[in-house]
């Protein structure tokens, strides 16, 4: 997940990706309820644990941003 997140940040200016070593930041890990890794959190809104496919990652990102609903353009 770390690698895909970083590649997204590399390519797209609207993406920022931070890979965090959970043991070194116990307070932060507690705040985000990290009990298993990798744990991915997007915009503090959507999270998942474990490895997922790139397509599933993208689906999670879409859930985490307000404006994208595929196929629906503003009227």
């Amino acid at each position: 997940m770390a690698s895909v997140a970083h590649q997204m940040a590399q390519e797209f200016s609207q993406v920022k990706a931070e890979v965090i070593e959970a043991n070194e930041f116990p307070e932060l890990s507690r705040r985000y309820g990290v009990s298993g890794v990798p744990k991915t959190i997007i915009n503090d809104r959507v999270e998942f644990v474990g490895a997922v496919s790139e397509a599933q990652f993208v689906a999670a990102i879409k859930q985490a941003v307000p404006s994208t609903e595929e196929g629906s353009a503003p009227a």
Binding site: F12, I41, I42
Partner: protein, 150 residues
């Protein structure tokens, strides 16, 4: 003592032959101390991380390491939004959006090397579908991935 064995250096040097554009590693760090003083920020991995990144940057002219002493709220820290140490930013054209907090040891070391190469070459392995989907989103996307060294 070096953290990278000679065989590791050879492997990484070989990987770095494919580098194109310069990549700057920005490390925010504080001195590692064995003493825990209440109220003072501590960083167990900082000195090892600095040594590792120094060794990596010595393997090629294309990678440079800038070490910044972290002070909470300083101009530097604010500019890059640094909240903890060690934080490592990989800067190509993309301004610090690719970052690590904590030691990039274990599997993350391999990821970091791949990141450096990808940034230097301006390449990623994202699928066309991913590119299309992310390009269609204009809102900020802030991703945090919690890992442990394995």
């Amino acid at each position: 003592m070096a953290l990278l064995a000679q065989a590791d250096r050879d492997t990484i040097s070989h990987m770095f032959e494919g580098l194109v554009d310069p990549v700057r590693i920005l490390l925010f760090t504080i001195p590692t101390s064995a003493l825990i003083v209440p109220g003072r920020e501590t960083c167990e991995s900082c000195s090892d991380v600095q040594q590792l990144l120094t060794e990596v940057s010595e393997l090629t002219d294309k990678v440079t390491l800038d070490v910044h002493q972290f002070a909470r709220g300083s101009e530097d820290a604010q500019k890059y939004g640094i909240e903890r140490v060690p934080t490592i930013l990989l800067l190509g054209p993309e301004d610090g959006r690719v970052r690590y907090s904590g030691a990039p040891f274990g599997h993350e070391f391999a990821t970091m090397l791949q990141d450096i190469i990808g940034i230097s070459r301006g390449e990623t392995k994202l699928t066309a579908a991913t590119r299309e989907a992310i390009a269609a989103i204009s809102d900020p996307i802030n991703i945090q991935v919690f890992v442990t060294p394995t």
